[in-house]
């Protein structure tokens, strides 16, 4: 039996998973079951970070992955983001890198750089 805490929402349900049958207990909603199965096979996470820009009013701009990526790719992603420099003023949710590190997730901005 593996004990997990679900991170899908603020509830943080304490889950118990039978590793052989993959039966999940303790979840308050179906997302818990999905989470438990994923966590035991290929743990995934959203990653939020920043990338540099050339603009002095935005020394860095916040970015995120468009979906969860494999935990193992987090640190390589961080290294890749270190090399990015945004050189145009982007609207919120603009794509900075498509299908980053072959994860199927894009890197998009999460702060609006365009003054209205």
């Amino acid at each position: 039996m593996k004990q997990l805490i679900c991170i899908s929402c603020p509830n943080g349900c304490h889950l118990s998973v039978d590793e052989t049958t993959m039966e999940v207990e303790g979840n308050k909603c179906p997302r818990g079951i999905l989470f438990a199965k994923q966590e035991l096979t290929n743990p995934i996470r959203t990653v939020t970070s920043t990338v540099r820009t050339i603009f002095p009013e935005f020394p860095v701009i916040s970015v995120r992955t468009t979906k969860d990526i494999s935990k193992a790719k987090i640190m390589p992603l961080m290294k890749l983001l270190n090399t990015i420099v945004v050189n145009e003023k982007l609207a919120i949710n603009s794509i900075v890198i498509q299908n980053v590190l072959d994860t199927g997730a894009d890197i998009i901005t999460t702060t609006n750089m365009i003054e209205k």
């Binding site: 805490i5 679900c6 991170i7 929402c9 603020p10 943080g12 304490h14 996470r45 959203t46 990653v47 939020t48 970070s49 920043t50 540099r52 020394p59 860095v60 916040s62 995120r64 935990k71 987090i74 961080m78 919120i92 949710n93 999460t110 702060t111 609006n112 209205k116």
Partner: protein, 416 residues
Amino acid sequence: MKNYNTIVIGGGPAGLAASKCASANGNKVLLIEREARLGGILKQCIHDGFGVTRFKQKLTGPEYAQKEIDALMTTDVEVSLLTYVTKIVPSKGGYVLTLVSRSGVEDVFTNKLILSTGCRERTSKQVAIHGTNPAGVITSGTAQYYINVLGKMPTQNCVILGSGDIGLIMARRITLEDGHVEGVYEVKSTPSGLTRNIVQCLNDYDIPLHLSHTVTRLFGVDRLEAVEVAQVNDVFTPIKGTERIIKCDALILSVGLIPENELASSLKIQLNPKTKGPLCDQTMMTLKDNIYCCGNALHVNDLADYVSESGETAGNHAAQTSESHMRRLCPVSFNSNFGYVIPSHIDLDGELSNVIFYFRSSKDLFNQRLTITVDDIQVFSRAYSNLRPPEMERIIVNLAKNKNCSSIKLQLEDVG
């Protein structure tokens, strides 16, 4: 002098929602913000988890803020940025505010006020950290600003004091930016932040959490060189002999948030000693007529979603309620298993069908039943398997049948 129906002070998520709602029915609203951009603290909260209930999405702070700003821009609310309220004086029919901005000093008049001034972080001096006074001791919010807004690292190897959410978030953030977190130290015997943050910020990165510990002393004259940590007993006093010195270049503090209520105090608005925010009724109106309070200024929230909700409540009522509405306030009492309950009063002549109560337990509790009794008759009941002080709860109660009650009591009790 410019006249407004409602002035909202503070353009973070609470103020954004409040001013949008307050502008309904043709009400003239001014939103005052001291920074250069709206969004409040969300601008620097680049992690996700915002909007799960409000937008059914897991947004980052800036994305959540942008949604609220976009919604506000569809209204006629007047926004004044880089503006600071220096004084509020009661005046016939309302209040006169003195505003200072790059254009000068200006007085404006309003019938109603909504205070959405957010909160500040507890400082090292307020948790009795002694020793030297070097560079390298900062609160996690300031660290967050340096890293996420200025793109600079204030540390390479740090100790974090306090397991509140911001501290946990920063533990992960620092690690992702190639910094090292030696450990998170928490004075209580249970963590202060959301459980999921313990998982995704500490466990994911093998950052140890030391409960029942605190930082007692700092070393290093110009820049921090080390901290002394010690175990604490059940009244949080350091235990002699358990001291340990940890080399580090920064101490990041996440030891609690304090609602900002200087303006409220200057208006002699009664504060709730448990929350440090104003006492209020179910419409978010404080005990002073026509002054509302919402968001973290009212009480420290865990979720931006509830912050926005409290702003909407305040704004809606400011738009709909007559200035001369006379309230009939009934106090709300609660037993000691509650840390606090908001609101502290119910206006029996106000909106009663959807009264939202927010509460925190006073300690970790299991298998509880929450009951609400009005004049000793039970009107609400719910079971909770687990309640923790860091995780605020919310319930909606219909009190429409209780317009003439004289006591409202909330009880949390063990089930069997």
